[in-house]
Symmetry: C2
Subunit: 376 residues, 2 copies
């Protein structure tokens, strides 16, 4: 029978990764118990071992691109993962009561971290780096995020005075932009108290309103609705409810723009390491799950995939995080640094190897009368 | 209890249609047995009554837009429709043996009809009327079909010498275009003997090959694969097989462009009148059904909806059909005329009211390395 190390060597070989090799994507192992810990404990153990300093790689993003491209994570499916799938099947981890948890765990960990890592508008979703219409390609993160905000406004045909709802508004980057540039009246809802406090303190004279609210509690009529990077927290058991809520709150001739990370295949649970350390109760939707959830509610007007942009965006965030770490490290510890590095760089790799996508989907209630025209 | 006529009046009222009214979309009834025949027999009886001359409307397309927009067909679901759903659930009407039936019934009814009704390239799918990149909007059917063929070539990034497969090639409009304009080497397969005979007789020196072949029998490797208006004949039980066949026959870095009519909701059977008279064993796929069928096989690179273009295309076909009817009527009869009119104009209405869509979906096997760039 093969030893744990021999099994690890054999698995890593499939991904062209060598233990203690000299290429940027090779793994450097500092504790030989890593093999047993990972092979028995799965991806969560592997991530925790990284946080404990048991291993590293010169270019961690390239290492992840190799091992995720070879689907080694699928071979590490452990009893722990089975537990997550079972839990997801038996319970609804994204009930209204539980929905605020990710707000506390992830988005409230400190605005100083996000203000250093993100662009000047604090946009915590994938940027858009390509040019479109009269807008040139972005040459830095600030521009990529403005391009993304602009493309959303144009895709929904935003006009002065329109009433717009943003479900999961983050620090308000979209509602601020839409109010500033288009004189729209915007409502943003969030489950993070720190985001809402930050937003209400800094909104100035803009016609925007921040609310600490669950999407299931909205009962109004908006000209347009957008949701940018929030659907990942909804959970597959709630997709239909979510779409019903949007349908109910959207005027008959309005547009709904859904911006979300997507997964090539339908699943019902997330990676256990991500679930524990980064996004509790999150889950990436598939195209099949989204399409099914909009039946009898919406016409799919457009489906834009620009997932490769998230590789660039996450690498920009990582570079900022590394650069400004000395300024903020007083609030965190080295284990947090490693955790955050693992999160950003493994995520970047999933988009680079095209296992995950970024979708902007434009939906209408009854179909735009003369057809929807794509602007990019 | 309401009489059949009273029930008909009440149903038609929901759609703003009057019996023997004077608006272009009002129905003119010539036989009072129409109400009983339709309410007991469903949509198939209603269509047959039209073919029998029992009713008409000044603008039949507008009449259909009204009644289909009000979903009156859903209220006419008869025991016959239930039979079709059951048949579809119990059998596979699109097995290889049965797949050639639509070739005989629909596509072999006479090239004189199609050559009069269609554009000069004999393209029997939705045209593209908008402009894109350097191509101006189309001002007639010939241009709309050339725009559509050109957009497909650009979406797959077609280059000189590429080997391309067209699944369901019709009279060969795409493979001829790709060979003429891009010097591609093309294979087209069809289940219509008349289409293949026509193609092989007229191909001249072009590097194209027509085959009378079922898609399940292809076993080669192509740079790119397209399928334009054929997926509607595949049947939901065969979607996965179809995608597996495409995946197997496509090179690793190639693109597959699927052009198909789509339905807003998932169904497992088609309208019984359409099934009996126009497209035996056809079925419109939903986005959910397609997305599910490509899981573990393809990355969805782009999903373009331009369904409103089929309203314009079908109205152009209808106008040609009406104009040239005197030239071809010797081969058909008046009942056929009414059947064809019913088919073209009810179809146009389904796109105008946005119940049906036209999708071009670009798929890659492993994701395009630096992301897929939309050209429109």
């Amino acid at each position: 029978m093969l030893s744990f190390k021999e099994r690890a060597i054999s698995l890593l070989k499939k991904a062209d990764v060598k233990i203690n090799g000299d290429r940027p994507w090779d793994i450097q192992v500092y504790n030989d118990k890593l093999y047993e810990r990972t092979l028995l404990g799965g991806t969560i153990a592997f991530g925790e071992a990284y946080m404990d300093g048991w291993w590293s790689a010169e270019k961690l993003d390239q290492f992840f691109a190799k091992i995720l491209g070879a689907y080694l994570d699928e071979e590490l499916k452990s009893p722990i993962l089975l537990f997550y799938y079972l839990k997801s099947a038996l319970f609804n981890p994204q009930t209204e009561k539980k929905a605020f948890k990710v707000g506390e765990v992830h988005y409230d960990i400190g605005n100083d971290l996000y203000s250093k890592m993100l662009d000047k508008r604090m946009v915590y979703t994938c940027g858009y780096w390509d040019g479109f219409q009269d807008i040139p390609p972005a040459s830095n993160l600030d521009e990529a995020q403005e391009n993304k905000l602009e493309i959303i406004c144009r895709k929904i045909g935003l006009k002065k005075g329109d009433n717009v709802l943003d479900i999961g508004c983050g620090w308000g980057s979209f509602i601020r932009y839409a109010a500033e540039k288009y004189q729209a009246n915007c409502v943003g809802i969030s489950v993070s108290k720190k985001q809402v406090d930050y937003g209400n303190k800094s909104k100035g004279d803009l016609s925007i309103e921040y609310r600490l609210q669950d999407y299931r509690d909205i009962d109004e009529k908006f000209d347009h609705i957008v949701s940018v990077g929030m659907f990942e927290h909804v959970g597959y058991k709630n997709y239909k409810t979510y779409m019903e809520v949007v349908n109910k709150n959207l005027k008959d001739d309005g547009l709904f723009l859904l911006h979300t990370i997507g997964c090539n295949i339908s699943t019902t649970a997330t990676d256990p390491w991500i679930n524990k350390y980064i996004f509790p109760n999150s889950m990436l939707p598939s195209a099949a799950q989204i399409s099914k959830s909009v039946e009898n509610l919406f016409v799919i007007e457009d489906w834009h995939n620009f997932g490769i942009n998230y590789d660039h965006t996450l690498m920009s965030w990582y570079n900022n995080f590394k650069k400004y770490w000395p300024d903020i490290k007083g609030h965190y510890n080295e284990r947090f640094y490693k955790m955050w590095e693992f999160y950003l760089l493994s995520s970047a790799a999933t988009f680079r190897i095209r296992r995950n996508q970024v979708w902007q989907i434009v939906l209408s209630k009854h179909g735009i009368k003369d057809g929807y025209k794509r602007i990019v």
